[in-house]
Subunit: 236 residues, 4 copies
């Protein structure tokens, strides 16, 4: 059997569910003062959320949840899983399933050359033919890599053994659940923006995930997102 | 000003919101094997959830949330807040608000005498007149306690100073968010049941909270709750 | 039996143990680059730790521990226990022990009057006679409070019942273990300094604990503490 | 440049530091009862630790630390990093360093064939010639894999790009800090023993790490380890 190998240069962050909204954050905050906003106080929400963000009162943002199904290569999940607090994960297992034949390959315009000093690299495009070579090289390797994987499975080796040398650019899938506070911590470290008060140097591929997470976050929690942006993208 | 002091011998655990259900747990589990159940596979859910519980695969239960507004005395919250992982809290603040005049008083049938050895106490009823004395004594003290609190506030002392000697039986209120996994950890330690594989010795008042939490949990996640019960009430 | 009640206006944060030092933080950092510093590179440590702090690389600071035995009133522990991540606690139990007769009473120079608006209060001294009244009032209440507690115990009521109305200013004791990263998070929120980039408004009594924690921290991790101070007392 | 590729069929868990011991666990426990053991009470330690384990009083075990430097392949670290609570990690970075040319290859006696049903696989040896083929195949692939990696680096591609297709069997190194409680949770899930009350099905390679962790743990905390073993290897 020879399975056709698929190549992707993108990632998927599919919305699955969420709990709460900006109003919920304010509600949780108002428990502190044992008050509730009257219906005509909704106009106070932006100021209240901005106050929480500015003064780093982080806990009210935790009474929320965001849930996604993510498809990305292993090297991205390796970075993502280092976020431990306020994150729950379930990922496709190479022990319990045969991983599908999909590999990450940089796009032709992925900036692939690092410049600057360690810890603060920036990235520039490679020469066109170099980038083309890289892509062809990675495709060839992926095809070979998956072929060896399948051969081992066909010979009867255990999945957990056959998968031992899969490349970190093979795709897997995970369920991830986080809250608005852990989401902001993630965005703060995994995106690079002009508006950030603190520098960050994410690898582009996890930033691609973070940008999609941020779109969902901004849509579901618009006031919280605006306050995050206004306060230098520092997680409270 | 003399505010009338209220006495309560119960607690409140009001449902506020939740995310996910038993089916979600199975969905998160099936990411591992990269499969999904067909519509007619729903009958497999109980077995699957039981398998997760029995073999302590805890992470699929985390892709859920339960959210409550709880009213209970401080001595209960003191115990509750020791649950750190998978719990988010926002509580009424004695620095930002004037705590309302509500105190916990044991009911006439609260078992108030400890017997047995330390670490494994059981509780028996006190003599009727002793229990009556206790209740009267605690009521008198609460009235005095709140009166001193108000006098300090009236004299212009800061809330954070006036509240310094409030009794741990004064009620406050909190927002609490947890997930099905942290919920089971809480129930495992804060209830005492025949069906428990491991012993636990909760104070009755936090158990009263836990029982109400369990009602909500059993209603929202019936298969998960049944598997928890079937497997000795051990959190996975 | 009438136990003499003790009054304290201070707190205790006694050093118990620690693990690691500034050099350990650098060692953990250098795993990233698979390098080690030669002996004569020790002069690079301050710069390296400053880089970690500035760019919010927090994880290397976690490979350390600080351990204290703290004596403080319950209202302080209530705030402290809200720090969930990187904190381990074991506290004297009112269920398993009879709490000693020691209560917190504000000192004569404790600033007891709040001014300014909610969420950003500052505190000023009360009139001398008002403060004296407050102290006398709290002492009288504490004596009465402990006397009722003892009477209930003498009558045979369970410890967990007798303690139900103890004031939140009674002292207990706890073992607390944290790491350099969680320590900085604690200091950032529980002290108020000119050098802080973000505002914070701790209650004075937990700040008294935090100041003692900070002395130990600065002594054990001088370079980390200096970098924390230099970078606006923001936890990485 | 062609770097010689090294093959390993083992892992390294090197002791780096620790804090506390069995006596510390008892000390933290005794804070609850506000007592201390006299010198001649040391004989009570085993019973006390056994009581904590049996009744799942987990927090006293947290006032300890163990610290290791681990060398293992990425597929092992992928599993290890799913332990989030009470674990701190710093790992060699493929963005900041060039990963050394060391790959994991199964030994000739690694059981490589799975039997039984999903979720409860057991493993048996493959035919001798099949295992030899597997080892040769993985070695050839590793040499090719590292050669492509080096070629990309030589052509000037960024480290984070060149490393994108490294096999998950390449070795990296990490600093890991945990405490006695999180250690027992890890051992409970990542070893498979006759004495375990709950079943577990770890991949052999992470179990190899866990066995080395357990040796250090048993040496540093002999009474805690004995109580863990006696109580069915269930983490408290």
């Amino acid at each position: 059997m020879t399975t056709l190998v698929n190549f992707r240069s993108d990632v998927t962050v599919e919305y699955r569910d969420h709990m709460g909204d900006d109003k919920r954050v304010v509600e949780a905050m108002l428990v502190s003062t044992n008050t509730t906003d009257a219906a005509d106080d909704l106009k106070r929400e932006p100021g209240r959320i901005n106050y929480l963000m500015r003064d780093r009162h982080g806990s009210p943002f935790e009474h929320t949840a965001l849930q996604f199904v993510v498809e990305a290569p292993i090297f991205v999940f390796r970075e993502w899983h280092r976020h431990r607090i306020g994150f729950s994960y379930n990922e496709m297992s190479g022990r319990y399933s045969i991983l599908p034949a999909t590999y990450y390959i940089p796009s032709s315009d992925r900036h692939s050359v690092q410049v600057g000093k360690q810890g603060a690299y920036t990235y520039e495009p490679a020469e066109t033919e170099d980038q083309a070579w890289l892509i062809a090289d990675m495709k060839a390797e992926a095809i070979e890599n998956y072929s060896r994987y399948e051969r081992r499975l066909e010979k009867g080796f255990a999945r957990e053994v056959a998968r031992m040398s899969l490349g970190v650019n093979i795709f897997t899938k995970m369920y991830v659940t986080l809250n608005a506070r852990s989401c902001m911590s993630f965005l703060s470290l995994r995106t690079k923006r002009e508006t950030s008060r603190f520098p960050s140097f994410p690898q582009r591929e996890i930033e691609m995930c973070a940008e999609k997470v941020e779109e969902h976050f901004a849509r579901l929690f618009p006031l919280t997102h605006a306050a995050f942006e206004k306060n230098g993208r520092v997680a409270p």
